[in-house]
Symmetry: C2
Subunit: 351 residues, 2 copies
């Protein structure tokens, strides 16, 4: 089959890690008889530098025309600590989410047995943890009205949610849980926020439709605790945009496999797949960054195209590379560290 | 000296743990020649049951007339999972915060060497962690306009901050850091929120006045990660109300001493001191709950009255009780578990 893949490598280590994922996808293509046609486009700081816009129209068009989008990372130190700069790379990200309608961010958090010692948590607490954080991505306080008072002495942000937005993300969470361990934890702050009370009302209605799924309600402060105390008790956690930003990042460090975690942002028109880590500017161009999170994001991408066997083949070869210690310096331990490009080539050759 | 202490024991285990703190304060009074005059008042579910109001006017008056307030815990299972109930115990808490102007919630997070094995984190990660989370408590999305659209298909909340509110809490954080390890981490989401950008602007101005304090800016998602990865790198963390709710709870579990952590809510008129744990209804009336967090809250109360030596004496006797294993079942391990009341009596007698 033929597939059109948008490739938005972005900043820092973005280009070099995306390159490895493409090697692996090409190996998948050769093995399973598919044709992946890649179209590159600019995003992030590099897009600002070249066009003045972190998510140019041309890039949007590429995404709209693609069956799926592979994304690297964005962010450049020259924009850090300058949150008031007129144009910032993050605006590109938020613009992309809104324009493509990427309403659900999905982050599986899994453990890799040989990396458990990297976790800041006790081994017995994290061993076998396997959860997914599903974050609503185009609503809430990220996209509500905001501003300053006229005299500049105060500022405000607005968190808005509609029944439709809540229902859409909840359904996706329940579908996901149906294919997993059949538990959904709905996280909100219903004892304080009106928007959270609406979330809970909608959830209490939707939950009745999924009789085989167990539903749990948890306040966000409690969830922030339990994620560390008992990560294994969670299967699918679903929550609104801001809480999801915090909890999905918190969840990503508990297993010690942060450099290996992929994500998907599911949209109406297309979906975007990217590693959860950032653009790691200090490592850019050095051929040392770990490409596995991006390769595993490519596996999620294949899955979204219904190429399930292909996705599994990618996951398998990643596991074999870890077992064979063909890994980059961040997870190499005492064994030899391989280059980014060497890991990518090994994966492609051993798929 | 004479002091007027408001006593709001609240629900669940509240009354029995507050009783132990009072035993200890009376021992302090006898030893150092002070007179603590206690006035009890209703708060929480018990106040709803008796007056229909979780924070009755009479209680407010008691607080206003007190030099400091000792608080137990609130919350009753009959109000759980019913966030839409007309009157809820939490409303009492929020009402109290607003009416007393309790603008700063202060939560020291410390380790107790003999309890480190209780931490979900690796011992080397938490050993020696010593930080304070300072949370703005009367502003932000907790107290902004909220509601439903007329057709009930959407709901909103508003986060508002004024320069004055931000400046007040930041100054308190810098004063605190000055007496500690001279580092302040300002946590916000300045890459997205207008209110956070105001926070950062104000912080960038205030920081210049405290030349001996090192300031660090951190996005809330990053803070949620680093708290687990490197809890020892923090000294004073300061943030807005909602982020503080999440991060202070997250921080409370990292050291494994959650049942021992006190808090202070500092106000214009008076300040309120309470354990960070909840009302633990399953244990109510059983004389098994750990009173140490409440006793350590009393130590913070004494400090607020400028009774520094007295506060230290309370902390010392708490440490000695742990060393002597005169502790309740939650931290007793293999040794004998003492009753709540026995621990309180031991502390008072050994002060
Ligand atoms: C860069 C920032 C705007 C973004 C967010 O908060 O959504 C990031 O933290 C993320 O989680 O993708
Ligand atoms: C009960 C609730 C309203 C309260 C809050 O969110 O402030 C609690 O979680 C706390 O942190 O004291």
């Amino acid at each position: 089959m033929d597939f059109k893949i948008g490739v938005l490598a972005g900043d820092g280590i973005g280009p070099e890690i995306v390159e490895q994922a493409i090697k692996v996808m090409d190996a998948v293509g050769a093995k399973f008889g598919h044709n992946f046609n890649y179209t590159k486009a600019l995003v992030g700081a590099i897009a600002i530098d070249e066009t003045g816009d972190p998510y140019p129209d041309a890039t949007h068009q590429v995404c709209m025309d693609s069956d799926a989008v592979l994304f690297g990372a964005i962010g450049d130190p020259k924009y850090d600590n300058n949150p008031a700069a007129k144009v910032r790379p993050e605006q590109g990200l938020l613009g992309m989410r809104k324009k493509l309608g990427l309403y659900a961010n999905i982050r599986p958090v899994t453990t890799f047995p040989s990396l458990l010692h990297k976790s800041p948590l006790r081994q017995d607490i994290v061993e076998g943890a396997d959860l997914v954080v599903i974050r609503e991505l185009t609503g809430g306080i990220y996209f509500g009205a905001r501003g300053r008072s006229e005299d500049l002495t105060s500022a405000f942000d607005t968190c808005v949610y509609t029944v439709e937005e809540i229902e859409r993300i909840l359904r996706l969470a329940y579908e996901y849980a149906g294919k997993r361990n059949k538990r959904v934890t709905v996280v909100d702050k219903a004892n304080v926020l009106a928007s959270s009370r609406l979330w809970r009302e909608v959830a209490q209605r939707i939950e009745k439709e999924y009789t085989d799924i167990e539903t749990d309600y948890m306040l966000v402060d409690n969830a922030a605790m339990q994620l560390i105390q008992w990560p294994k008790k969670f299967d699918v956690m679903v929550t609104e945009n801001m809480f999801g930003d915090i909890l999905s990042d918190e969840a990503s460090v508990i297993t010690g496999s942060m450099g290996l975690l992929p994500s998907a942002s599911v949209g109406r028109e297309t979906s975007v797949f990217e590693p959860i880590h950032g653009s790691y500017p200090q490592a850019a161009g050095k051929d040392i960054a770990n490409p596995l999170a991006t390769v595993l994001s490519a596996a999620m991408l294949l899955e979204s195209l219904d190429l399930l066997e292909e996705a599994q083949a990618v996951r398998d070869v990643v596991n074999r590379s870890i077992d064979a210690e063909v890994v980059t310096v961040d997870i190499a331990g005492d064994s030899k560290a391989y280059k980014t490009s060497e890991v990518g080539t090994w994966l492609a050759e051993n798929l």
